[in-house]
Symmetry: C2
Subunit: 133 residues, 2 copies
DNA sequence: ACTATAGTGTTATAAAGTAGCGCTTGGGAA
DNA sequence: TTCCCAAGCGCTACTTTATAACACTATAGT
């Protein structure tokens, strides 16, 4: 199925891959509107949902934005580090942290299903060593 | 300062303490409007910002909602476990996880400043053992 | 008294996300 | 081959979440 249906999927994925920073749904909307000015939000959100389901993009919960997955493709939940200065997002994988997390939250019988880990800070390029005073 | 200014702070804190689940800004707005029907969103968001600064509440980034801080008061960042079934939120502290996290994200020179850790899942009361079939 | 500041009131608007309908297409079942 | 289904999309309208900007009041400190 879907040879004609995937029109926007590739288009949107491209937008993400061309951007080094998080992109909001409405920013995507604007770009798509350069192609078809009548596109509405639901189209964008549907594409985003599909791409998330395929693990091709991540949602940045703390920013209401999205980034493309940088890893080849792991089903491991990702640790996202966000530079509050330049907006760059880096992705790390650390299964042992997820295990520790699950075990800590599991102490009360909680069963973890989805980990949201976002670290805000300043990246190497923006850090104090690079921009002293 | 502030004997008259803090009107809403205590009121809002009370709302949080009476609720076992996350509360949205607009839910708070509704409650405040029972007292003063003319209250508008900015008032609520200002109170929330103040309470966050005092570390009395946490923002649940993945839900656009807020919960009161359950710990006595640590400046440690909290791990929030959210039951997607009943909405209950539990708070855990695990400095060693934060250290691990900072060290992992720091490998590329990233300097961590704010950790967002939210774990979605199912709590003990809602788990499969409690509701089999 | 004067001033800085924290908290609030108010209007308007921006930004983010969803409900719900219906159309088209292509692949598989009958 | 015909029918139906699922995926992707168009579109309208709407809800929810959040902020900008400006004004006012009261208290604490000097």
């Amino acid at each position: 199925m879907t040879k004609r249906g995937e029109t926007w999927h590739a288009e949107v994925l491209d937008i993400f891959r061309r951007s080094s920073s998080p992109v909001t749904a409405y920013e995507i909307l604007e770009v798509l509107r350069e192609v078809n000015p009548k596109i509405a939000p639901p189209t964008v959100y549907r594409v985003l949902a599909a791409l998330m389901e395929r693990r091709l993009i991540h949602r940045l919960e703390s920013m209401n934005a999205f980034v493309s997955c940088q890893c080849d493709h792991h089903d491991q939940p990702a640790i996202l580090s966000i530079c509050d200065d330049c907006g760059t997002v880096e992705e790390s994988i650390a299964p042992e942290i997820m295990d520790r997390l699950s075990s800590i939250t599991g102490k009360t019988g909680f069963s973890a299903q989805r980990h949201v880990i976002e670290v805000h800070g300043v990246c190497a390029s923006c850090g104090p060593l690079q921009a002293p005073a």
